[in-house]
């Protein structure tokens, strides 16, 4: 099977869906002539022309709203945000409009729109550029939210998002764009709303999604060397949440750790941890642990910024904690 990057996988998804459906277009800052700030849209302007690959001024609120309007009357916009930090300027159009039009109109409209871009910290970018903002989107009924962590999932989920008749927010990651993985040739979709067991194990379930998957996989390797078999559930979609896959795993292992790179308070991670605590109460052999980022804006200094995020050490410690293996 071909091995490609996460970036190339997203590019293939965009390319295939644009070829398949004339009403799909890509709009955002630097998506055309510059081939994307992170090169996700490389080559698409050449192939589809400026009518369908549209460079905008730096106007997040405006071009996101333009996407919403175009979607209300039947186009299928893919709105690229250079990063989710800048999407905060467009929060209003997503939360007040994209997520509400169908409901407020009593079901008269559908909004087949995708909002996508890198989310979460990269390196040395300080407080305004290093935020994992998934809670902002996942909080809102009327949206779907996907967070692929592998090239395979990235391609399959983006294609599903573009074909979905609802607004879908896609969380990518600057550091993930270069990650490599197997992606089959030819058409496939990854369904929205389905989690994936990325590693089978019997002792502890670790639930995660997006970039921390790699940290969790490394931690699982280390644990395996000590005879601890970790099962990894990758949520892949945050809304709607595939609770059943999570519970099935926890019912098998009786222990759960949730790893989420956003802040701990009112996060996707804290919500999932609560769901497990409530719905798997009878089978849990330990309290559910949450490994999140520190509850602080991101500092620029590299040592501090690494210390602020979930790490292999923190995940291993949490796994041992739910196994009552004190250090």
């Amino acid at each position: 099977m071909p091995v490609i990057t996460y970036r190339e996988a997203l590019n293939q998804a965009l390319d295939e869906e644009m070829a398949r459906d004339e009403s799909v277009f890509l709009i955002g800052e630097e998506v055309g002539e510059y081939n994307g700030a992170y090169k996700v849209s490389k080559g698409l302007l050449d192939k589809y022309g400026p009518k369908r690959v549209i460079d905008t001024p730096i106007t997040e609120l405006g071009f996101t709203g333009i996407g919403v309007g175009a979607a209300m009357v039947g186009l299928r916009p893919v709105v690229e945000w250079m990063t989710h930090n800048f999407a905060l300027l467009a929060l209003d159009q997503v939360v007040n409009n994209a997520a509400k039009m169908r409901y407020m109109s009593g079901g008269q409209f559908k909004l087949p729109i995708v909002f996508r871009g890198p989310n979460g910290p990269a390196e040395y970018l300080a407080s305004q550029h290093s935020q994992a903002l998934q809670t902002y989107w996942t909080h809102v009924p009327g949206l779907k939210v996907v967070a692929p962590a592998t090239p395979y999932d990235a391609k399959g989920l983006l294609k599903s998002a573009i074909r979905d008749d609802n607004p879908v927010v896609v969380l990518e990651g600057e550091l993930m764009y270069a990650w490599k993985g197997e992606v089959p040739e030819g058409e496939y979709l990854v369904p929205i709303g389905k989690a994936d067991v990325k590693r089978e194990g019997t002792d502890v379930t670790v639930v995660t999604y997006s970039k921390p998957l790699k940290v969790v996989q490394e931690a699982a390797e280390l644990c395996a060397q000590e005879g601890i078999q970790v099962e990894i559930v990758d949520l892949r979609t945050l809304r709607p949440l595939d609770e059943e896959t999570v519970y099935r795993s926890v019912r098998k292992t009786n222990r759960a750790v949730v790893v989420d790179e956003s802040w701990p308070m009112v996060s996707v991670g804290s919500h999932v941890a609560w769901l497990i605590s409530r719905n798997c109460f009878d089978v849990l052999d330990a309290q559910v642990e949450l490994v999140a980022s520190e509850d602080i804006p991101m500092p620029y200094n590299h040592t501090l910024e690494l210390a602020a995020q979930p790490s292999v050490t923190k995940v291993v410690a949490a796994v041992k904690k739910v196994l009552y293996l004190g250090e």
Binding site: E30, P57, A126, I296, P299
Partner: protein, 323 residues
């Protein structure tokens, strides 16, 4: 009326532009050595805008805000190169204690209010600073810098309207360096002349040559006087050029070498240097003395940054809220 140009001021402006140029060259080198990370936006080529503007204000009562391309403005405000370099290195001795990095230089005492990473975010904030100046009637003026890319954000348009209806003492200075990342300003703007964008709000606008520090100084002085005396906001478009890529990671393939060379011929430092030499205000020897002094200052800044401590782990929990 053009402001009096005394010799010392002219020399100081030359010196300050040279300091910025050397500092930026050094910052670029340090980035190459991985002493600095992340986004680092250099100001080479645009020195005249910050230097000429700051020369026109009184930082005891006036304020300055800009975006992430902020090293030049910080230096022009008289911030210590050591504290800036240490900030770029992420050290505890940095002006923002290693928390902000290149995009988030601040100095409350020097009235330099950042350093902002969100394109256009400083425009309403600067307008709010001018609001407070008017509220207190303290005679202060705010200078707000932003790029040709930032001018299209709603924040700009909302701010100008409010500045006008409330007569706020602010000068909006658009540093049109022709490019917003890889996008030429003409491609994403309904008008090529940004000075027109004030007219809808009844705010006078003017295009000025941002490569000529004397012109910048004189025009900003006029605008500042108007703001101070009559509470009239204004908009200046300073035409300038950035020599380097958008940030250290941008190879700038979207423009030709000829374009860059063309602007280098109008280099703000060379223009002023030639003029001052012709007029006998600065000699070649003095210029060389400035050069070596500045070299030493910048080297010292690197040494200071290098030797400074990393912030202790617990400092990351500090400075979030006032206790």
């Amino acid at each position: 009326m053009a402001k009096e140009l005394n010799k010392n001021l002219l020399k100081k402006m030359l010196y300050d532009m040279m300091l910025i140029r050397h500092f930026e060259e050094k910052a670029g080198q340090m980035y190459g050595l991985k002493k600095i990370g992340g986004f680092c936006h250099l100001y080479n080529g645009e020195e005249a805008v910050a230097v000429g503007s700051v020369a026109a204000i009184d930082l005891k009562k006036d304020y300055i805000l800009t975006g992430y391309r902020d090293h030049g403005h910080a230096l022009a405000c008289g911030m210590d190169p050591k504290g800036i370099m240490a900030e770029l290195f992420g050290k505890i001795t940095g002006c923002s204690r290693g928390k902000g990095g290149s995009m988030h230089l601040f100095d409350a005492e020097k009235h330099f209010l950042g350093g902002n990473g969100i394109v256009g975010a400083q425009i309403p904030i600067a307008t709010g600073v001018a609001f407070a100046q008017k509220y207190r009637n303290d005679g202060g003026v705010t200078l707000c810098f932003f790029g040709d890319g930032a001018i299209h954000q709603g924040a700009f348009h909302e701010s100008l309207n409010m500045a006008k209806i409330w007569n706020l003492p602010i000068v909006y200075i658009c540093e049109n360096n022709q490019w917003g990342m890889g996008t030429n300003f003409r491609k994403v703007s309904s008008v090529d002349d940004f000075s027109l964008l004030g007219t809808a709000y009844g705010i006078p606008g003017k295009q000025i040559n941002g490569m000529d520090v004397i012109e910048v100084y004189q025009e900003v002085s006029k605008a500042v006087d108007q703001a101070r005396e009559s509470g009239l906001p204004s908009l200046l478009e300073a035409r300038t050029y950035r020599y380097k890529g958008h940030s250290m990671s941008d190879p700038a393939k979207y423009r030709t070498r000829e374009e860059v060379e063309e602007y280098r011929k109008q280099d703000p430092i060379l223009i002023l240097k030639d003029k001052l030499m012709q007029e006998g205000i600065v000699t070649e020897k003095e210029y060389e003395k400035y050069d070596s002094q500045i070299q030493a200052i910048v080297d010292e800044a690197v040494e200071f940054a290098e030797k400074s401590e990393e912030p202790a782990l617990h400092t990351m929990y500090e400075d979030i809220l006032v206790d």
